[in-house]
């Protein structure tokens, strides 16, 4: 097999100062956006290294360069003391780097052993698949890695942790010496996480270097040896995990100087609009309690997999609820469909505009009026004029830049598309407006426009909920913030307490101090 392709002997690789990988002065920009500004790092074999940073800090770009997905503008990569150049992911794989993405690359309907050889199947002399040999090789690999799995099993039957493990074993089949794991534990239960960690320890004993990308600082503390923190495209901190606490790490990630002034002033709140008690749905969220009053802007934040979108989609009637109560204006309600939610005065602007909000076969006016079709129609016949008037009103407030109302929605930029979606909800005149990632894929100017609108709506006594993963955005517009972690509300912050340190510490499963 391919063991011979090792360029260096095992002993050489185990030497204490031997760097299996070095990245020097990496720079990368996308257009005018400098994503990486001179980043250098190195790591040894048998080391688990945490790569930390906020969204947009440059983690994924750096790893994509290492994985051959992106090409760097300048800098050098040295693997096993040889300078290498990656133009494609295959180049990177050939030097022994394996990138385990969040979305696993396994075929559910094939057995494990066939998945292990996907794309490099073993063949017999006659050209048919050599299933026996593939099976044997897989079994051998599992034995070596202490994995207790039947290679005959279908991948579909495996839970996420075992899928991760199969991917790791597949990487080991190709003699990977460095494994990059991109947030491997986000969708796993505690027990499954334990399983993956054991696997990582085995890899460590085989002298494989692991780069572990994660937002969960507690996990980082348990499993990692070293940390690297990126912020705004710079490597701002690195060192041994044993020297730091989770609070230190959170501080490194956010930085001291990042502080945007809150936009809010003193104000009087109105009646309670929404209260939920003990809301639970499957594994998405459990036992949620909170309330919001007229004119209030409530932030809800957390990291990937926190369940905030799921929570509010359930409140909006798009998903279900297993248990718990929802009160609107003090009265208990049952909301079983989005139509019902809208008639009760709830509006929900979803995340991922393209998948959830934009109807690409329709023009701007129609996209801006879909919610109010039933409202502005006479016996089912749509009152176009009424829609145009309403839309005209809102587009001025929103500073919407567009051509004709009958142009296709896709002719607009992302920011303007988002404003159209916002306009459609404004037309519905909601009492409770839920905005899920309202500034996703929106440029800076449009962001400010959207913040202005949020404040203006609150002044008009609408209760606004802003869901966002960007802490500074939350701090800027919200009165009060709930921080979620794995489907539960980890804590609530407001006023002085509402700063990035506290939010980050709650979002990573910690407590307020």
């Amino acid at each position: 097999m391919a063991w011979q392709s090792y360029s260096l002997s095992f002993n050489q690789r185990c030497g204490s100062d031997f760097m299996i990988i070095e990245m020097k002065n990496i720079k990368k920009s996308f257009g005018s956006n400098n994503v990486l500004k001179d980043v250098s790092l190195s790591m040894k074999g048998g080391e688990i290294c945490a790569l930390l940073g906020e969204n947009g800090a440059g983690k994924s770009t750096l790893m994509n360069i290492l994985g051959g997905v992106h090409q760097m503008d300048s800098g050098s990569i040295i693997v096993d003391e040889k300078q290498v150049e990656f133009n494609t992911p295959v180049d990177s794989q050939k030097t022994g780097i394996a990138f385990i993405h969040q979305e696993l690359n396994l075929i559910n309907d094939l057995p494990i052993y066939e998945n292990m050889f996907l794309g490099r199947e073993l063949k017999t002399k006659r050209g048919s698949l050599d299933l026996e040999k593939m099976f044997d090789e897989t079994e051998k690999m599992f034995k070596r890695m202490n994995v207790d799995l039947d290679p005959n099993k279908m991948v579909r039957e495996l839970d996420s942790s075992y899928k991760q493990i199969v991917e790791i074993c597949r990487a080991m089949m190709t003699d990977a010496s460095i494994i990059i794991m991109d947030e491997p534990t986000t969708s796993l239960t505690d027990q499954e996480i334990e399983r993956v960690f054991n696997m990582m320890k085995t890899l460590k004993n085989h002298n494989v270097g692991i780069i572990f990308i994660s937002h969960k600082l507690n996990e980082v503390m348990t499993i990692c040896d070293r940390y690297l923190v990126l912020r705004d495209g710079n490597l701002v901190a690195e060192g041994a995990i044993s020297d730091v606490t989770t609070k230190d790490l959170a501080r490194f990630m956010v930085g001291h100087d990042v502080r945007t002034e809150p936009l809010l002033r003193e104000k009087k709140l109105g009646e309670e609009i929404l209260r939920v008690e003990g809301l639970t749905y499957k594994h998405n969220f459990k036992d949620i309690h909170f309330s919001i009053r007229a004119g209030e802007i409530l932030g809800v934040t957390g990291l990937l997999g926190d369940g905030r979108s799921e929570l509010f989609q359930s409140i909006f009637g798009a998903d279900g609820i297993s248990s718990g109560k929802i009160y609107l204006n003090g009265k208990q309600v049952k909301i079983s469909s989005t139509t019902e939610a809208i008639s009760k005065g709830i509006a929900y602007l979803p995340r991922n505009r393209k998948e959830n909000a934009i109807i690409k076969d329709m023009n701007i006016r129609e996209n801006a009026s879909i919610v109010t079709w039933p409202k502005f129609s006479n016996r089912g016949i749509i009152n176009t004029q009424k829609h145009e008037e309403t839309f005209d009103e809102h587009r001025k407030v929103l500073h919407l830049k567009m051509g004709k109302m009958t142009d296709n929605i896709t002719s607009l930029s992302g920011g303007n598309q988002q404003k159209v979606v916002l306009a459609k909800w404004l037309a519905a005149e909601p009492k409770l407006l839920i905005l899920d990632n309202p500034t996703q894929g929106v440029d800076v100017g449009a962001k400010e426009d959207i913040y202005d609108i949020i404040l203006k709506l609150a002044a008009e006594k609408i209760a606004v909920v802003v869901l966002s993963s960007e802490a500074h955005e939350i701090i800027r517009v919200c009165d009060r913030t709930l921080v979620m972690y794995h489907g539960v509300i980890q804590g609530e912050v407001s006023g002085e307490e509402m700063n990035e340190h506290n939010i980050m510490s709650l979002a990573t499963g910690g407590q307020l101090t």
């Binding site: 809208i342 959830n356 934009i358 129609s377 749509i382 051509g403 303007n416």
Partner: protein, 355 residues
Amino acid sequence: METKPATDKEKNTGKKRNFFEWFKYKWSNEPLFSTAIALVVMVILQTLVLGFDYDSVGSWFQAWTNNWINILRNNAGVAIVALGMTLVIMTGGIDLAVGSTLVATGAFTMVLLDTGNRGLLGIMGMTGIPAFIVTILLVMALGYLLGSLIGVTITKGKVPPFIATLGAMMIFRSVTQHFMQGYNTTVPTEFLQIASFKIGNVMIMPIIYWAVIAYILYYVSKRTTFGRQIIAVGSNERAARLSGVNVNKVKLRVYALMGLLVSIAAIIQVSRIGSMDFSNAGRGMEMDAIAAAVVGGTSMSGGRGFIMGTVYGMLIIAVMNNLLNLFGVPPFLREAFKGFIVICAVLLQKKQQDS
């Protein structure tokens, strides 16, 4: 930056600099333009093939019109079904059961109106015009019901439309054939007036039904909440639901409407022929309806569709059949041409969308 595409378009539409540019703009920006052009070309071709070998312009025109009225009348039934099919496809679904629903509703017409002594209404002592009206209403109700059944299977049962309607296709025809064994039915001759009533000595009624239904559905698809929600559901079901559209209700109503239209087609067919062959009537109708919709620019993945396009599509296929007839192409080869036209139409639309 953002407004650039719009201004470009305005430049092109506002002042048509010359015919070629205008044509090019229309061709790539108006989805129905190429379909309409194709239709015009085929009609010209057909006119040329018919020839001008007549005594006078008057008699030439007479022959030309007669030919056209024949084409339209023969296709009215399937054309009405194709209109409903367009709406179904626009939601991202499909209805394979139209032929069987046609047979089921047609059979029901017979059961109600049989001229022998077994007609249900006859037994109840109802004859003549009142009986016809009751029959039409009941048959339409049955069509609506059968369509709703399919709709419920698809929405509540979450069965994919292809499977649900494939099953319904087999069930409806088989059940109809079983219960209609030995019924040697004919409807009263007066009932035939529904299709063969003459206006100015021309049998034009089926064409009028087609035109009226096409206009109503055109209006529904363009101007009503229901019509626009169909597009929203077909284009992005998730976004539609998150915008408060009751997706299941829209789908259910579309399949019910499809059933209703099929029952109208069944009444037209029964009243034209006076009877119905339960094992063969409506076979392949679903494919003809889908073909017309597709040639008319409707996208099989949903969200994009045109009622007028389907009218054009139906006419294109009909004129082509007429042409093949005039050319004397052997009957077995004609289907091949139909297939060819369908594929060409989609290739053409793909090209337009890419450009």
